[in-house]
Amino acid sequence: MAAGAHETSLGIDHRKLGMWTFLGSEFLFFGAFLATFLLYVQTTAGGPGVEIFDIPFTSISSFVLLMSSLTMVLAHNAHTQGDLRRMRMWILATAGQGAVFLGGQVFEFNVFVREGLTFGTSPFATSFYVLTGFHGAHVFIGILLLLTLYTFSLTGKVKPNQPLKTEMIGLYWHFVDIVWVVLFTVVYLIPELTVLD
C-alpha cells in the first residue's frame, strides 16, 4: 500500500484498520463458541466433566503463551528500531513459545481422550474440543505467520523500515493470546472452582 498513514482519511494504514476490523469479527466467533461451552459445561452425558482438567499443567502452558506476547512486543520494538537481527531472534522465541503451547494442547487432548473424553462423548466434550481446537488452529496460523515473517526478513521482502508488518502479526498474536486469557479463565478455572465445590 503506497497510501501511507498520512494519506488515509482516518490517518491509520489500511492494513492495520483492516486487521482491527477482522479481529472485531473474530471476537464474536469465539464468543459464540464460548457461550455454547458454558451452556454445556455440565452436560457430560455420564462421561468425564470439568474435573478432568489438569489445572497446573494448563497453567504452565498458558503462562508460556502469555510470555510469548512479551517477546512479540520486543520483536516489534526491535523492528521499529530497524534492528532486524534482534527482531528475528524475538520472532523465533515467540513462535517457539507458541509451539510449546500447541504441543501442550496436543498432549492434553491425548490424555483426555485416553481418560474417556472423546469428541463425541457428550455436548460438553464436543464444545470443549471445538472451542479450544479453534483456538489452537489460530495459534498454528500465528506460528505460520511468524515463521513467514522470519523468512521474509531474511530474503529482503520485509525491510528494516517496515515495522508495520511485524506490528500486524503482533496484533493478531496478541488477540490470540487475549482470547486464551478468557478461555483459560472461563473454561478451566471458574468451572473447576465452582463445580467441584
Binding site: A2, S9, L28, Y40, G120, T126, K157
Partner: protein, 646 residues
C-alpha cells in the same frame, strides 16, 4: 497506468491483460468485479426462479404430486438459499463494488486482490451448493437448517453447512474491505456527514456482516461437526439443545434481514432525491435511523422463535424490541415520502421502482409488526402468512430497490440508457405479477396453509386452492416481466440511446466522471465541499432557495476532475495490478469444501495445501511500482494523487 507495466529487472511481472478471458480471471478492478457479481447473480436468479416455478406447479392444485416430497423439499430449500445468499446479498455486493469507490472519490477499494478473492469464493461456493444436486441430492432441511433434522444425513445439509460457511468467508472479506475503504479512502473534504446515504448504508451493512457472519459461522461449524464428524452439539440423546441452534442462527438471521434491506434503502435514498429534484428530506435522520436499525437489529432475533421454548419474559422483551425497531424504519419511510412531497417528480422507470419499493416495503413492514405480537405470531407461525410477509420485504422491498438501482446506474456503467418503454412494461407487469403471487398468500396463510409442505391439503377448501392458483398465475406474469427486463438489459447494452455524462441531472460524485468510468476512475481526485457535491457544482441557489444553474466552469471551488492536463496527470496514477493469486487460492477451496463434506482427509489436505500455496504466491508477488515494497525505495510519486497500489 502505463507506469504499472514498466519493466523492473530481476523480478517477475504481474499480469496486466486488458481484455479477454484472462483479464477477467485476474482482474482487481472494482468495476469489473462488480459486473461479475451482477451477471453471476442473474444466473443464480434464474435458477431460483425455476425452483419457484416448480413449487408453484406443485401447489397449483390440492393433493398434487408433480414432484416427489423429497424433490419438493430440495427445491424449496435451494430456492431460499439461492435467493438469500446467491441473489440478494451478492446483488448488493455488485452495487457496493461498483459504486463505493466512485461515490467517495477513490480509485479502487482498499484491498483490490481481497475484493477479487471475495468474488471467487462466492462463485465457487455457489457452484459447490448447486453441485449437490448431482452428488446425492440437494439440502432439503430448509434455508434455516434447524437441528437436529439438519444434522441427520437424510437432509443432505452438509452442503448447506459448508457452502454457506464459504459464502460467509466471502462476505466477511468483502465487509472488511468496504469498511476500510469507506472509513479510509474518502476524497478530501468528504466528511462523514457529507457521504451519500448509499455509502452510509453500505457502511452499516458491512458492520452488520462483520458481526453477524462469525455467529452463523459457529452455528454452521457445529452443524458440520454434528452431521459429518459425530459431534454432540444438538444431539438431544446426550443432552444437546436444538434450541441453541435456533438462537445462533437467528442471532445471525435477523441482522441478515437488515443486511439485505439496508443496501436497497441506500439506493432509494439516492434515486428519490434525483427524480424529485430535491435534496433528501432529513439526511441526518435517515443516516441515524439506518445506524439505529443496525444496532437494534442485533436485539430482536428471538421473534423468529416465539413458538420455541423460551419463557414469557424473553418473549415480552423480544416483542418490545421488535416493535421498537419499526420506529427507525418508519422514520425512513416518512423521509422518503417527504422527499417526494412538493418535488418536481419525473416518473422514470427507476423512479417507479423506487416508489414501488416504498409502498411494497411498507406493506411488508406492517405485516412484520403483526409478527411482533406474540399470540398473533403463534397463530401465523410456519404458515403462508409468513411467506407473504418476507416476500413483501425481500422481493417487494430489496429486489424492487435493487432493480431501481440497475435502471439508475445503467448509464453510468455502460454510457447508454435502458429503454424506458420496455422499462415501464417491466415495472407494471412486475408490480402486478408480484402482488398477484404474494398478496393471496396473506389470506391462504391466515386460513391455515402451512409452509414447507409438499402437498396442499384438500381439507383447506377451494378458497385456499384458488389463492394458490392465483399465485401461480402471478408467477407466470413475473417470468414474462423478467424476460422483458433481460431483453432490455442486453439490447440496451449493445444499442441503447447514448446517455451523455449526466442523464438524470444527478447529485452525487460518481456522475462527475465519464460514463463508463475509466479504469482509474478519476484523472484528478475531486475535492468535496458539500453534501450532494455534484449538484452544488451545477447549481447555486437564488434568494428564494430555488436552484439556479451555474454556468459551466464557473463553480468557484475546484477544478474539473477530468482536467485538461489529463495526459500529464495520468503517468502519476498507479492502479492495482491484476493478479492470478486470488483465483488460484480460491481453487484450493474446492477440494477443501468437498473434503469436509465427505470427511475425506486427503481432499482436505490437498485443499489446505493449495490454499496456503496460493496465499504465499499472493504475498510474494511483486506489488505495483511505487509502494513500500519497491526495491528502489524511491520517493513515492503517487503520494500526492492518493493512488492505490496494493
Amino acid at each position: 497506468m502505463s507506469s504499472t507495466t514498466a519493466t523492473r529487472p530481476g523480478r517477475y511481472q504481474r499480469p496486466n491483460p486488458r481484455e479477454g478471458f484472462i483479464s477477467w480471471i485476474t482482474t482487481t478492478d472494482h468495476k469489473r468485479i462488480g459486473l461479475m457479481y451482477f451477471w453471476t447473480v442473474l444466473v443464480f436468479f434464474f435458477f431460483g426462479g425455476v425452483q419457484s416455478a416448480l413449487i408453484r406447479t406443485q401447489l397449483a392444485q390440492a393433493e398434487q404430486s408433480v414432484l416427489t416430497e423429497e424433490i419438493y423439499n430440495q427445491v424449496f430449500t435451494m430456492h431460499g438459499i439461492t435467493m438469500v445468499f446467491l441473489v440478494v446479498m451478492p446483488f448488493a455486493a455488485a452495487f457496493f463494488n461498483y459504486l463505493i469507490p466512485l461515490m467517495i472519490g477513490a480509485r479502487d477499494v482498499a484491498f483490490p486482490r481481497l475484493n477479487a478473492f471475495s468474488y471467487w469464493v462466492f462463485l465457487f461456493a455457489g457452484i459447490f451448493l448447486y453441485s449437490s444436486f448431482l452428488l446425492g441430492g440437494a439440502p432439503n432441511g430448509s434455508w434455516v437448517g434447524y437441528a437436529p433434522l439438519s444434522t441427520d444425513a437424510v437432509s443432505n445439509m452438509g452442503f448447506y453447512a459448508i457452502g454457506i460457511n464459504a459464502l460467509g468467508i466471502s462476505s466477511l472479506a468483502a465487509s472488511i474491505n468496504f469498511i476500510v475503504t469507506i472509513l479510509n479512502m474518502r476524497a478530501p473534504g468528504m466528511t462523514f456527514m457529507r457521504m451519500p446515504v448509499f455509502i452510509w448504508m453500505a457502511l452499516v451493512t458491512s458492520f452488520l456482516l462483520l458481526f453477524a457472519v462469525p455467529i452463523i459461522s459457529t452455528a454452521l461449524f457445529m452443524l458440520m461437526f454434528d452431521g459429518v464428524y459425530g459431534g454432540q452439539f444438538f444431539e438431544p440423546a446426550t443432552g444437546g439443545d436444538p434450541i441453541l441452534y435456533q438462537h445462533l442462527f437467528w442471532l445471525f438471521g435477523h441482522p441478515e434481514v437488515y443486511i439485505m434491506i439496508l443496501p436497497t434503502m441506500g439506493i432509494i435514498s439516492e434515486t428519490l432525491p434525483v427524480f424529485s429534484r430535491k435534496p433528501l428530506f432529513g439526511y441526518a435522520a435517515v443516516v441515524f435511523a439506518g445506524a439505529a436499525i443496525g444496532f437494534i437489529g442485533f436485539g430482536v432475533w428471538a421473534h423468529h422463535m416465539f413458538t420455541s421454548a423460551m419463557g414469557p419474559v424473553a418473549r415480552s422483551a423480544f416483542a418490545l424490541a421488535t416493535m421498537f425497531i419499526a420506529v427507525p424504519t418508519g422514520i425512513k419511510i416518512f423521509n422518503w415520502v417527504f422527499t417526494m412531497w412538493g418535488g418536481k417528480l419525473r416518473f422514470t422507470t427507476s423512479m417507479l421502482f423506487s416508489i414501488g419499493f416504498v409502498s411494497m416495503f411498507t406493506i411488508g413492514g406492517l405485516s412484520g409488526v403483526t409478527h411482533a405480537i406474540v399470540p398473533h405470531n403463534a397463530q401465523q407461525h410456519d404458515t403462508y402468512y409468513v411467506v407473504a410477509h418476507f416476500h413483501y420485504v425481500l422481493f417487494g422491498g430489496a429486489l424492487f430497490g435493487l432493480i431501481a438501482g440497475v435502471y439508475f446506474w445503467f448509464p453510468k456503467v455502460t454510457g447508454r440508457l435502458m429503454n424506458e418503454t420496455l422499462g415501464k412494461w417491466h415495472f407494471w407487469t412486475w408490480l402486478l405479477g408480484f402482488n398477484l403471487t404474494f398478496g393471496p398468500m396473506h389470506m391462504s396463510g391466515l386460513l391455515g396453509q402451512p409452509r414447507r409442505t409438499a402437498v396442499l391439503p384438500a381439507e383447506l377448501g377451494p378458497t385456499v386452492e384458488l389463492y394458490n392458483l392465483l399465485s401461480g398465475v402471478g408467477l407466470i406474469i413475473l417470468f414474462g416481466s423478467a424476460l422483458v427486463f433481460l431483453y432490455n438489459l442486453l439490447a440496451s447494452t449493445k444499442k441503447g440511446e447514448l446517455a451523455g455524462e449526466d442523464p438524470w441531472d444527478a447529485r452525487t460524485l460518481e456522475w462527475l466522471t465519464t460514463s463508463p468510468p475509466k479504469a482509474h476512475n478519476w484523472d484528478k481526485i475531486p475535492t468535496v465541499t458539500h453534501r450532494d457535491e455534484f449538484w452544488h457544482r451545477k447549481y447555486a441557489e437564488d434568494e428564494a432557495g430555488r436552484p439556479v444553474a451555474v454556468p459551466a466552469g464557473a463553480a468557484e471551488d475546484v477544478g474539473d476532475p477530468r482536467g485538461d492536463n489529463a495526459e500529464a496527470l495520468d503517468e502519476h496514477i498507479h492502479m492495482p495490478d491484476a493478479s492470478y493469486w486470488p483465483f488460484v487460492m480460491v481453487l484450493g477451496l474446492v477440494p477443501l469444501m468437498y473434503g469436509l463434506n465427505f470427511a475425506s482427509a486427503p481432499l482436505i489436505a490437498i485443499g489446505l495445501l493449495w490454499a496456503i500455496i496460493g496465499m504465499y504466491g499472493w504475498i510474494i508477488e511483486p506489488l505495483a511500482e511505487g509502494d513500500d515494497d519497491d526495491p528502489l525505495d524511491a520517493p513515492n510519486p503517487s503520494a500526492t494523487t492518493g493512488a492505490v497500489t496494493y
